[in-house]
């Protein structure tokens, strides 16, 4: 019987007590670690997804909503803007990149984004399997989308209206076909399905026609969604704003949901947002500003949760201290006996 053996004998003798104390402290530490990791990863993810995007141009509305919908793909868009906005921005000498995004549909809650290959280049994404889209109806899946949906090359899928899940109103007539799967990037691209802007328009043009045929007996007043594509009627039930590029097909005027802009020179930061915000239908939102605002809002909650975790840890620590102190008091006689038998003071008592 060694003193280590004696220690374990003590622990075994009060196994439940020991286990509960370890559990309390573990839970407290785990909570704190999870919160720290969560807040760190949240900040990292926001920074990574917005990296290189100096400005987002979209329809008038909340700038935070515009950033959330177009950069992080977690909110509904504020609306659509004319396609010529893209050309106007590209013609500006202070703009290095202007990447259009056309949103509106999803597949199993993963957003289908009409865009250009430059969007992949922006995040340094590469196609791991297959190839990029080259024609209508072709799509490339993000790594996480492919993993979670199990979709593989050549597989067809049907996009559903809206951005938050399958609403049961899919574009059955125009299925997409998977022609490529991206390698993991650790960015928002992993959770997106990319296709060409034209494919999004095409899908909705047909969808609109189909829905229009059912409109009368479906009892849905088209006026209610005036200026929107037929599928927007469906969208409007779940979204606060007409929020996809399908308006292009309906109105005959090609539109996009947002444009991600990278500056060529710092001068653009001074001039461009003000210029865009003067346009009646457009607004410019700066991801860095909106992300900071969002993090400060989220940060209050994180700070409160962190304080709570700290309190939990303190409680756990105090609980263990009380348990140890009680055990020490209970074992004073044992320790005195150990001293009598010849244990040296540091081995038998802390006093």
């Amino acid at each position: 019987m060694t003193l280590t053996g004696l220690t374990f004998a003590y622990l075994r003798d009060r196994a439940l007590n020991t286990a509960l104390n370890v559990l309390i402290l573990s839970l407290a530490v785990a909570t704190l670690v999870v919160l720290v990791l969560f807040s760190a990863q949240l900040g990292e993810r926001f920074t990574r997804d917005a990296q290189g995007v100096d400005l987002v141009v979209g329809a008038k509305g909340s700038p935070l909503q515009l950033i959330l919908s177009s950069v992080y793909h977690v909110d509904v868009p504020t609306g659509n803007i004319p396609l010529e906005t893209v050309e106007t921005l590209r013609a500006d000498p202070t703009v290095a990149k202007a990447i259009p995004l056309a949103l509106g549909d999803n597949f199993r809650s993963f957003r289908i984004v009409g865009t250009e290959p430059a969007y992949l280049d922006h995040y340094g994404a590469a196609v791991a399997q297959g190839r990029l889209w080259s024609g209508p109806g072709e799509a490339v899946m993000g790594a996480e989308v492919a993993r979670r949906t199990g979709a593989g090359l050549g597989q067809q899928f049907v996009g559903s209206h809206g951005l938050g899940g399958d609403d049961g109103q899919g574009h059955d007539e125009r299925p997409f076909v998977v022609v490529g799967v991206m390698a993991p990037t650790g960015s928002v691209l992993d959770r997106l399905i990319l296709t060409s802007v034209e494919s999004v328009w095409a899908v909705h043009g047909i969808a609109h026609a189909a829905e229009a045929a059912h409109e009368d007996h479906a009892g849905e007043a088209h006026d209610e969604h005036a200026g929107h594509a037929g599928e927007d009627a469906a969208h409007a039930h779940e979204e606060p704003a007409p929020a996809n590029a399908s308006q292009a097909a309906h109105a005959g005027e090609p539109e996009v949901t947002a444009v991600l802009v990278s500056y060529r020179s710092a001068l653009a930061a001074v001039r461009l947002p003000a210029f865009i915000n003067r346009q009646t239908a457009l607004q410019a939102a700066v991801p860095a500003v909106e992300t900071t605002r969002l993090l400060s809002l989220v940060g209050v909650g994180v700070d409160a949760a962190r304080a709570l975790a700290g309190l939990l840890m303190l409680t756990g620590g105090l609980s263990i201290f009380v348990a140890l102190y009680t055990a020490l008091r209970q074992r004073e006689a044992d320790m005195a006996m150990l001293r009598v038998m010849g244990a040296k003071p540091p081995r038998s008592s802390s006093r």
């Binding site: 019987m1 003798d13 006996m337 150990l338 038998m341 040296k344």
Partner: protein, 216 residues
């Protein structure tokens, strides 16, 4: 003399607990320490073992002054020379009887001797309770286990405080036999504090303590 104490007194607050002008015990002697409750038997045992510092006087163990040596040296001296059986029967609560004996040997001066442990456990009649914890033992069984533990390091001096108080006649005699036998085998000095009349006739020598509760 193996043990020599001179002018020992001990006071707690204004109460005198012990007053012993002279105590001499030769190596190999077997003594009973007699006296009524409150006469200072337990106090004297604690002083002899170096667990308590007397108010006045000194104890020499094999020539070493307990008052002059350091606490560390006192611990070492106790570990090497003295085996103790306490009145309050302090076994380590989380360990089995066998583990209590093994720990005593581990902390003692000699090597761990498993055969001796098993033999002593058997001799005190606890072979069937060797793996029981103290809370699973009766008071008499605990007392016998404490005696076995004191003997398992084969100390030159064995001091026991009321070792038979919780034992029936048969077990009381058996335990005294065991301690005497062990002391004779190893040549150990044995001091047993008791007021148990059953064992008085077994010891040729006795130290008589008288009540000394005097107010200062």
């Amino acid at each position: 003399m193996l043990i020599e104490a001179r002018n020992l007194t001990h006071r707690i607050a204004d109460r005198q607990i012990l007053d012993l002008p002279l105590l001499q015990v030769a190596a190999g002697d077997h003594h009973l320490l007699l006296g009524p409750s409150g006469s200072g038997k337990t106090t004297l045992i604690n002083i002899l073992a170096g667990l308590l510092t007397p108010t006045t006087g000194d104890v020499l163990i094999d020539g070493a002054s307990m008052a002059r040596i350091s606490p560390t040296a006192r611990d070492a001296l106790r570990r090497e020379k003295i085996g103790l059986v306490f009145q309050t029967l302090r076994l380590i609560s989380s360990l089995t009887v066998r583990q209590n004996l093994a720990l005593a040997q581990r902390l003692g001066p000699g090597p761990v001797h498993r055969e001796l442990i098993d033999r002593l456990i058997s001799q005190v009649g606890l072979a069937h309770r060797a793996d029981a914890r103290p809370r699973e033992l009766s008071q008499g069984e605990t007392q016998r286990a404490a005696i076995a533990r004191a003997l398992c390091t084969q100390p030159p001096i064995l001091i026991a405080d009321e070792p038979t108080s919780a034992l029936d006649d048969v077990n009381a005699q058996a335990m005294v036999d065991l301690m005497l036998s062990a002391a004779r085998t190893t040549g150990a000095t044995l001091i047993i504090a008791t007021h148990d009349r059953r064992i008085r006739g077994r010891f040729p020598q006795a130290i008589e303590l008288k009540p000394t509760a005097l107010a200062a």
